[in-house]
Symmetry: C2
Subunit: 297 residues, 2 copies
């Protein structure tokens, strides 16, 4: 029951370019590198195939969307099969005309699609106009069963919601995984920037702690200019990381460089930690009903 078993995971943090093929080539090369390092599971960053187009609201960008399955899933499925590893990817899904999602797709090591997750919490603030592009997910918070365990895949803005991580945990997730695309507005003072990144790390480490689950976070890096005002844009802060079930940082990428981040996880730790800190035993489910309210007024 507590037999040790390890899981080697790789996160691919990279700079995106306008050319989709260029991004796919980077990913393909880094997956091969990860495989040579013994990776069994790959986590890619959010919307890894393109620049982060949500800096502006432009109907033309819907051309970047694809059906699932589609050309991108075929390419990723082939990589999963070739290297015999599980891949968690993040795509701009065209489900129907006028119906688009921000969708994570999980590929089994035989090249099949194990499952998908449609981003549930959609942000919208200056520079991150996602509500224009993405219909909120309708698949709920369901982990994806794979040969490596149940993957609690969530996407970016979901990272601020303890509810999402908890629901994945209650459904038996063995890991939490966050493809993400977050960065700084260069015009903000440095102390604001430091506080933002620290908050982003802290909240995701807290999901690991609250649920005693290893947590993987893969962010993009590099500056991407705004299509409307090229002198401004987003400095994606990289800093992809993996933490253990007490939130302890196991490995972390730099802020401003591409990075292939590989680490071996001890998957028996979750049970060991939960025996010491049995949070699930004591949840007051009789008193949580109002969590489904917008506000208790």
């Amino acid at each position: 029951m507590m037999s040790p078993h390890s899981l080697t995971v790789s996160l691919i943090q990279h700079r995106c370019v306008a050319d989709v093929k260029g991004n796919q080539d980077t990913i393909s090369e880094q997956i091969a590198n990860a495989a040579s390092q013994g990776a069994q599971l790959i986590l890619l960053q959010e919307l890894h195939n393109s620049l982060y187009f949500c800096q502006t609201e432009s109907p033309a960008f819907f051309d970047l969307a694809e059906s699932i399955p589609g050309p991108s899933t075929e390419q990723l499925a082939a990589l999963a099969k070739q290297h015999q590893l599980v891949i968690v990817a993040s795509l701009f899904e065209r489900r129907a005309a006028g119906l688009y999602h921000n969708t994570a797709v999980v590929f089994e090591s035989d090249g099949s699609i194990a499952g998908q997750y449609r981003k549930m919490h959609i942000p919208d603030d200056p520079g991150f106009y996602e509500k224009f592009y993405f219909t909120p997910g309708d698949l709920g918070f369901q982990p994806v069963q794979t040969s490596l365990g149940k993957l609690g895949v969530l996407v970016c803005w979901d990272q601020w919601y303890p509810e999402a991580a908890r629901l994945m945990t209650l459904a038996g997730a063995d890991l939490l995984l966050y493809p993400t695309a977050i960065g700084w507005d260069r015009r903000e003072p440095e102390d604001d920037q430091v506080r933002q990144r620290e908050a982003w790390m802290t909240i995701q480490r807290s999901h690991a702690i609250a649920n005693a689950l290893p947590t993987l976070v893969c962010n993009r890096t590099g500056f991407e200019a705004s299509p409307e005002e090229p002198e401004i844009g987003i400095d994606f802060w990289g800093s992809s990381f993996v933490c253990g079930p007490q939130g302890e940082i196991l490995t972390q990428a730099p802020a401003d460089e591409p990075c292939l981040l590989t680490v071996k996880l001890d998957m028996a730790q979750t049970e060991a930690v939960r025996r010491m800190w049995p949070f699930m035993r004591d949840r007051r489910i009789d008193a949580y009903t109002d969590l489904t309210k917008r506000f208790r007024d």
Copy 2:
């Protein structure tokens, strides 16, 4: 609406002794010191009037419990009135014969009782046998209205539950406050100890972040021997802290020393942060129903 207003808070971290009067004298003296520093709100540590008696299960320790109101609330009410400040205290409540709670009591600056909170999540693990002593709270997660705002008072083990902080927030809390009593087993390796304290800080900072609320945490310090095995016991790790609404540490006490920790909060920050990171806007309340389940199996 966003007019700046400040709130000066003081946390009293101290070593407890067996003599209740000794602890009350320490608290009385430190509240006077805090008042002279301009404190408007005092947060005391969990069960500050006694040693942490839950290291063993002994029916005799129920003698420490008191009715509310009772002698301890009278003493604390007098201090609140004398110094004209709000006090958040933590008492062992005797509600009826055989019915005891771990109860936080909030005193208004005129000496009246503003409200109380009965600890909802009750731990039980070696050295912390709280399920023997405390009936789980039945007042739910309701902040206490005071002249200084709505206080989201929770107690110790509650700190591991994002649900508790969220419910306080949804009910309009302006601050989160945690009286706590947590420490190390000296027999554990140092790296385990470091990880535990870091997890404890991280999860509480995460409640500040998820809810954009300043968060106050007051822990006891010092070694308390086990009544059964005096060579073992709990090294309470102090480290009381106050963080702002992005989880940024504003001030922190040492691990192994008593400390009066005073800091001025900018209460306009919550609104400013929520305008930038409007997490409450995007909660998927349509998909949170299963949070009231024990497990989704």
